[in-house]
Structure formats: C-alpha cells, structure tokens
C-alpha cells in the first residue's frame, strides 16, 4: 500500500569516539520507494545505511521495521540485502555459487535455487555467465552479479552503498537506467547511498540530503533542485548562484543591488536572506522593457549541450549563466530572471556567536584561546559571555601560527562578489567568514579578530 512506512528512524545518533557522526536523525521510508541518501563523504550517509543493515547499532534513538524496533536483530536475520561498494563478491566461488550463497544458507531446495538464480541472472542480463570465475568479469559485470546476489533472496529492502562509484561514466549511466527499471519491475524498496547528486536526481523518488551528520532536506528531486532550503543544498545539488539578498516585502526581493519580483512570502519586511538562482534561469533578452539588469560577458565555455558564461553585472557581481547560445566575451548583455526562478532562503545565521568567559577587563577566552577586546565596563573576570563577530571582521592569515586560533577551510561558497567560508578550528568549532580573498577547501589558516570587532554581552545563566 502506498504511503505505508517500512522503515522509521527516530532520533538516531551515533558517535565514533568523540566525533558525532549522526546527530539526531529522524526519517521515514515508504514501502516501494526509491530513497537516496545524498551527501559529501563523511556526512553520515553510509553510517545510516549500516545501521539499517544492522552492522552498526545507534547510540541513541531507534530503527523500526514495519513499526517494530529491530535494534536487537542481527544483520543476518534482517530481511534486507546489500549491494556493497566495490561489489564484495566471494572470489573463491563462481557466479552461480555467489548468487546461490544466501539461498543455500537458507536450505532452499536445489532445483528452486537453480530456477531463482537463472531468473535473477536474466534480470541483470547476465545469463550464460553462471560458471564464470567472478574475478574474470569486468567491473560492470561484477556489479550486476552483486545486484543479482542481493535480489535473489527477495529482500524487503535492497540497500545500495555507492554501487556505481567504481564504474566509468558511460557504464554508470546505463546501470542507472537499469536500476531504475529493476526498481519499477520488482516493486521493492530501494535505499541508495551516493555522493553523486546527478545520480540521486536521476534515480530517486525521494532524496535525503545530508551534511555533517544532519539531514539538510528531504524531498523529491524537483523540490530539492528548485527549492533548496539552505546554501549547502543549493550548492551541493547542481550549479547555482548563491547571493546575499534582502527581502523587502512579500514577493519583492533585492540582490546584486537590483530589485526583483519573486513568489516568496512570509519572510517579513526588510529581512536579510540568501537567494539562489540557477544558471539556466537567467535569460538573455534584446527587449529593453524586459531587461532587469545589464552585464558584461567575462568568459564563455562550451559544455556540450550548453554554453557556460560568467558575466559581471553593472553593479559589480559575478554570475554564472547557462544558455544554448553563446555571447561573445566583452559584449554587453541585457538579462532578466523570472519571479518563479528566484529561490529565497532564510539566512541560517547573520553573524558569528561564540560562547566565552571573561579573563580580565580586556581579554576574553573563547574558541580555545584568549582574544583581546576593548575594556568592558560592567563585566568582571569569570563572567560567562556571548561574543558576536561579524563575518567580515574575521581576519584570515596564511600561516596557522600567525593567528590566535588555527583552523582549516572546511566549506566555501561564492556569493557573487565575495566568498563565504566555514573555518573548522582545531577544537571543532565553526567560524564563518566573508572575504574577498581566494582560499581553497582544506587550506590551513590562522584566525585573528581585532579587539574592536568583538561585541560582548553578558550571558544569563539558564
């Protein structure tokens, strides 16, 4: 029955040592659905899958199958089968015995095994390969055998852990289509883990976007693509222009120093927001009446189906545009954006807020170090304080030892005229920085904040 939950994850958390890998994940999966857990490496997607398959136990929370808690059921008794990354076929067995492995363990009669193996081999288009040594097969063929080995047991759920990651692009595309067909044919639930956003968009009924152990967004591929809820999702899924903006009133937003009509409501008046515009949603026009802003084409690259252009707006922002027609570099163009294509997102944060403790009148301890500050009246040593620092006020140094705190560039977003960086300190704190300098992910940096930029307030004990 459609809509019936087969799997429920309720407030699931998992730690490896000190590191929180999953932080209070709740999600349900409907019977027969193709669900993809999507995110960058280390986001917790594989951990989630391993908890469903039973190889990991959650530290907190519970996992329900058809409404019943399965945390005490070992993996070999769960009615799920997994297609592993890098196949994990048994090299000492041939194709037939690999596929028959699960059935033999269940003491299935020999003639039934043969029937089912033959059938599933046909399903993955590998008939006549029964007697082959698995190591003599190509990557794609091994992958098919791995899928057959899982499907032959008629699992309630098929779990797939980046099954196509090791295949080349062409093969991957073919397998995507075949997987989708198998899903339709068999009608069983698929839970698919990948870091490839295109794969997720192609295959899934529902996508769960994860980052840093948290679920960012759950939705259909079109929802996720057209209405990302935050900068991470917008940046991770497809190409996008992510820009600082200001919601002026309902259905009216300002960004790149121009005003636009949009379809979003309920943000309030004059509220800072983030705006996402997909590069294919910015249109060229020759009609001055339609033109919303002008720009100069800075670069133009042919990408196969479309051209990718970077333009500099008359107000000093850089935007990416994709169009079927190229425009010569240096030419002045007129542009417009449909109200439907402007995605407005509430800002996740507007400045850094750190928890600290006063050391003396002119020093505050936070982020595992001591920062100098302006003399604070009314605060004494030992007071708990919260410290606000604007994104632009954080100063990054090339060498870790030149900063008060050392960190690493963890995530970066280009926002049209500046970069928004997430710095991960050695103690695991996040510092957000707006800068015009170019940094790369993984750069080691020293972080300084000028005394005048610390806005300190006494924190009330809860």
């Amino acid at each position: 029955m459609a809509g019936e939950h087969i799997i429920d994850l309720k407030h699931v958390s998992k730690r490896f040592g000190d590191k929180v890998v999953l932080d209070d994940i709740s999600l349900y999966i409907r019977k027969g659905e193709f669900v993809t857990l999507l995110g960058p490496s280390g986001c917790g997607k594989t951990t989630t899958l391993r908890m469903i398959s039973g190889f990991l136990a959650p530290d907190e929370g519970e996992i329900l199958l058809d409404g019943k808690d399965i945390s005490s059921i070992p993996p070999y008794k769960r009615p799920f089968n997994t297609v592993f990354q890098r196949y994990a076929l048994f090299p000492h067995l041939d194709v037939y015995d690999n596929i028959a492995f699960g059935l033999k363990l269940r003491k299935t009669p020999e003639d039934e095994i043969e029937k089912r193996v033959k059938k599933v081999l046909k399903l993955v288009s590998m008939s006549d390969y029964e007697d082959r040594d698995v190591e003599s097969l190509s990557g794609g063929q091994q992958q098919r055998v791995a899928i057959a080995r899982a499907l032959v047991n008629q699992p309630k759920i098929l779990l797939l852990d980046e099954p196509l990651a090791a295949l080349d692009l062409k093969m991957r595309k073919d397998m995507q289509i075949e997987l989708k067909e198998m899903h339709r044919e068999l009608g069983i639930t698929f839970i698919y883990v990948t870091h490839d956003q295109e794969e997720a968009l192609t295959l899934s009924d529902t996508i769960v976007v994860m980052n840093e152990g948290k679920i960012q967004q759950i939705g259909t591929p079109t929802d996720i693509y057209n209405e990302p809820v935050n900068c991470f999702v917008a940046d991770f899924i497809g190409e996008s222009n992510i820009l600082k903006g200001r919601m002026l009133r309902d259905r009216r937003v300002a960004f790149i120093k121009h005003e636009f009509d949009c379809v979003d409501e309920g943000f309030g008046e004059d509220v800072p927001v983030d705006v996402v515009v997909r590069p294919e949603d910015i249109y060229f026009t020759t009609d001055p009446a339609k033109c919303q802003f002008k720009a100069t084409v800075g670069s133009c690259t042919f990408k196969g189906v479309h051209y990718e252009m970077w333009v500099d707006t008359d107000t000093g922002y850089e935007l990416m545009i994709q169009d079927y027609d190229p425009y010569p570099v240096g030419s002045e163009v007129m542009l417009y954006i449909d109200p439907d294509d402007i995605q407005v997102m509430r800002k996740e944060r507007t400045c850094n807020v750190f928890e600290g403790k006063m050391v003396d009148e002119t020093h505050v301890a936070m982020l595992g170090a001591e920062f100098g500050c302006l003399p604070q009246a009314g605060l004494s040593a030992g007071d708990d304080v919260s410290v606000e620092v604007r994104f632009e006020a954080v100063d990054l140094q090339d060498h870790q030892e030149d900063g008060i705190v050392a960190g690493e560039v963890h995530f970066l977003l280009y926002k049209g005229d500046h970069y928004h960086l997430t710095i991960l300190t050695e103690d695991g704190d996040h510092i957000w920085v707006d800068t015009n300098d170019i940094w790369d992910k993984g750069d080691l940096v020293g972080v300084n904040i000028a005394p005048a930029d610390l806005k300190i307030e006494k924190r009330n004990e809860a």
Partner: protein
C-alpha cells in the same frame, strides 16, 4: 668483461652455497663410515635407513619420528593461533596496529639461542618439568609469528566487505568465518603452515634448551650428540639428502602458490 666478472661472481656464490649439499648427496651413495672416503657406489645406506638395519638405528629413527611429530603439532597449532592473531591485528588501527606488528616481528629477529635460554629459564621458573610438552610449546612460540606474517597479506588483499556481505546474505558469524573468511585466507594459512613446519624441523637451539634431561632427541640434537660421540652415523647422509629434497619441493610449492595468487590479484 664486466659481464664475465658478474657471472663468475654468481657462480662462485652458488658453488659456495650448494657445495656442502652436493657433497653430502654424493657421499650418501657410498658405504664408507668416514665422510670423504669414496668406497664405490652403493645404495646400501638408503636401504639401511628404511629397513632400520644399522648401528644405533632405534635412536636415529625415533629422533626422526620426534622431529616430524613435533613439527606437525607445532605447525598445526601455530597456524591456528597465528591466523586468529592476524585477523585480530588486521582489525586494529593506527598506532596499536603498528605496535603489535612490531612485537610480532621481534621474536623472528631474536637469535634462537636467546629464545631458547629464555624459554628454558621460564620453564624452570614455572617448575614445568621439561620434555616433549615444553619442546612443543617452545616450537609453537617461535613458529606463530611466521604464520601471522604469511596470513597478513591475504587479509590486506581481501575486500574488507566480504565478511559483512556473507552476514548480509544470512550467514551467522561462524558460517561467514568458515564459508568466506577461511577460504580467502587458506593460501596464506598453508604457506604459514609449511613455513612453521620447516622452522620447527630445522630448530636446534630452542629444542636443546627446552628438551630437559629425559633423553628426548630430535634430529638436530641427535646429530649434535652423535657427532660428539665420534663420527656421524653414515645413514645420516642419505637422511639429510632426503630432507633437503623434501624441503626443496615444499619451497617450490610455496613459490608456485604465491606466483599464482599474485597473478589473480
């Protein structure tokens, strides 16, 4: 010229290495009691060896029997222990793994004489009466690290997911062990077994210190005593030749196996 020197060098080296073996093998086909006297071709010594018709034959044959039995037990037990240890070490991480691997390597570089003396002292300290059991225990001790060393590469080559894949398909942990893990490790275990067997066969120092005073002799200790009694029993010559041939065959088998697994990876 350069090539000539290089070739001469390798030939001299090979002659030095194999001359003693060839010498023993040649003189195993003559009856002379004194090694080095050629008294005409004869296979008598070989016949004696198998019929047991010779001086002090009972002690020589029982030494051979002891040697083989001890080597078999030691190799079997250390294969089991070493494989389990290798699986354990494989699943350790970072520094602990390095440390344990290092600790495993030390007994292999440690001179036999030190292993022997320290085991001797340990057994005395524990009031263990020395004899067959202590020799077997001692052999297991120095053989196990070799098994660990030959099983480890198999674990490293193995797809880390196949054990989980077996469980995922419905195998209990013990079924997964026997149906998937052991078949994968078997070549390493066999090499380890053969290595342990030859190490045990070969040992003198450790056996000498741990056999106690009950008169237990393995081949090596027998020869040592025999030589001191004045001259070697002539039948030792065919025996040595045969042992050399067996070891040679074993080595070829190990090498062929290794070459085969390398090709399939």
């Amino acid at each position: 010229m350069k090539k000539f020197i290089a070739q001469t060098y390798i030939w001299i080296l090979l002659i030095l290495l194999y001359a003693p073996l060839v010498f023993i093998a040649v003189f195993s086909f003559t009856e002379s009691r004194v090694l080095g006297n050629w008294t005409g071709f004869s296979a008598r010594l070989y016949a004696n060896l198998f019929t047991g018709d010779m001086q002090g034959s009972s002690s020589l044959l029982s030494a051979v029997e002891n040697t083989l039995l001890i080597a078999l037990i030691a190799a079997a037990v250390s294969t089991l222990l070493g494989t389990v240890a290798a699986v354990g070490i494989h699943h350790l991480h970072g520094r602990t793994k390095q440390a344990v691997t290092f600790l495993n390597n030390i007994p292999m570089i440690n001179p036999d004489i030190i292993t022997g003396v320290s085991l001797f002292l340990l057994f005395v300290f524990l009031h263990f009466s020395q004899g067959y059991v202590t020799v077997v225990l001692a052999h297991i001790t120095f053989c196990t690290p070799y098994v660990v060393l030959s099983v480890m590469p198999k674990l490293r080559q193995m797809n880390p997911n196949i054990y989980e894949a077996a469980m995922d398909l419905g195998a209990t942990p013990s079924q997964a062990l026997w149906k998937v893990l052991v078949p994968q490790l078997r070549p390493g275990m066999v090499s380890g077994f053969i290595l342990a067997f030859t190490m045990s066969l070969d040992d003198f120092a450790v056996t000498f210190f741990t056999r106690g005073t009950i008169g237990l002799d393995t081949l090596s200790t027998f020869i040592y005593t025999d030589a001191r009694k004045g001259g070697l029993t002539p039948e030792l010559r065919p025996l040595m030749t045969l042992i050399f041939l067996i070891i040679l065959i074993l080595l070829v088998v190990i090498n062929v196996r290794q070459a085969k697994t390398k090709r399939t990876v």
